[in-house]
């Protein structure tokens, strides 16, 4: 006689382990007073160039550091180290996104109280990183003018998960006939009310306004803590 199957009700959040660890990281960051900012985008949108410029510029005024995720190579960390800021590479192997646990490991030995800003550059991927909380205070999604205006509609989940949008490589906008208004309207369509910046890491255009914004976010976070 075959035993009867039995129905069991469950409530198991598949991301629970990551979510719990991310929550722990977030309170650690808040206690240490470090403002943590993650960057997500497709490969080649200019995350590393943007970050190099940010680290180099901000270092004069703030204590900054970065973690950078890639499937392979330490090229990005070597490139970012030119800024003289502390930088660590996270090599994910076959994993297409960063997880809270990888961030936790990468931070070992760093005294977070010595930092004002910590940047976390995710693996270039507009799909998978959306599902993983890293404990960051602010998630920036980057879109370059060379990618086309409809990227937000093609990848709504990641744009919706972001707190701020940055359109990069603005110096190439004319050459690519980039339609700013359509791009910004598409971003608003998938994430109403999101603050959007236009900038170029190459010319430096728009960088100062963005750094001012980060600084005011950090001051507000400290004031409300």
């Amino acid at each position: 006689m075959n035993p009867q199957p039995r129905l069991v009700e469950l409530r198991h959040n598949v991301f629970k382990k990551n979510d719990l660890l991310a929550r722990e990281l977030r309170s650690r960051f808040q206690e240490a007073g470090v403002h943590v900012i993650s960057l997500v985008s497709s490969p080649g949108s200019g995350k590393t160039a943007f970050l190099e410029k940010m680290l180099t510029t901000m270092r004069a005024q703030f204590r900054v550091a970065a973690l950078v995720g890639d499937l392979a190579t330490e090229n990005d960390a070597a490139r970012l180290a030119r800024s003289q800021a502390p930088v660590r590479q996270i090599i994910t192997g076959t994993v297409c996104h960063l997880e809270a646990e990888m961030v936790q490991h990468a931070l070992e030995g760093w005294d977070l109280q010595d930092l004002d800003f910590l940047f976390i550059e995710n693996v270039g991927n507009l799909v998978c990183p959306a599902s993983y909380d890293l404990g960051e205070e602010l998630r920036i999604v980057l879109l370059s003018v060379t990618e086309g205006e409809d990227k937000p509609l093609k990848y709504p989940t990641i744009f919706n998960s972001a707190d701020v949008a940055v359109i990069t490589k603005s110096d190439l906008a004319l050459a690519t006939e980039f339609d700013w208004l359509t791009a910004e309207s598409n971003i608003q369509s998938v994430r109403p009310g999101i603050r959007t910046f236009r900038l170029s890491a190459k010319t430096g255009d728009g960088m100062a306004a963005f750094i001012d914004f980060l600084q005011s976010r950090r001051s507000a976070a400290i004031a409300s803590a």
Binding site: P3, Q4, P5, R6, L7, V8, E9, L10, R11, H12, N13, V14, F15, K17, V95, C96, H97, V127, C128, A130, S131, L153, P156, T157, I158, N160, S161, Q188, S189, V190, R191, P192, G193
Partner: protein
């Protein structure tokens, strides 16, 4: 492709329950998958079959219930179901709807098991 790690996490969670309840074999698992979860159903089903091998879930069926994004419309002051995640606007009045109430979930809600 992060569906394999998600499949492994489903199997890990269910296996723990099976052991706790003294079960032998799982015949099906029910999963809620939100429209904003960033998880592709077909990739997940494929990964699930592979990842189940050699576990009490081998041969089980993953039943995926796709759940929509639910937002709050500030103008109507009502919760609304989005028909597409490309336009976060109230389907009734057209107002932008930044507040997302649900749709990001990836949650195991049940299983069928033989003891």
């Amino acid at each position: 492709m992060h569906e394999l790690s998600i499949a492994l996490s489903i199997i890990e969670g269910v296996s723990e329950e099976v052991e706790r309840l003294g079960g032998e074999q799982v015949t099906s698992v029910r999963l809620k998958l939100g429209a904003l979860s960033g998880v592709v159903k077909d990739s997940l089903l494929f990964s699930y079959q592979l990842a189940c091998e050699g576990t009490p879930l081998e041969g089980s069926e993953l039943i995926v219930e796709e759940t929509p994004a639910i937002v709050h419309c500030p103008r109507c002051d009502a919760d609304r179901v989005l028909t597409t995640v490309q336009h976060f606007r109230c389907p009734q009045c057209g107002a932008p709807t930044p507040e997302v109430l649900s749709g990001r979930e990836v949650e195991v809600v049940g299983m069928e098991m033989i003891s």
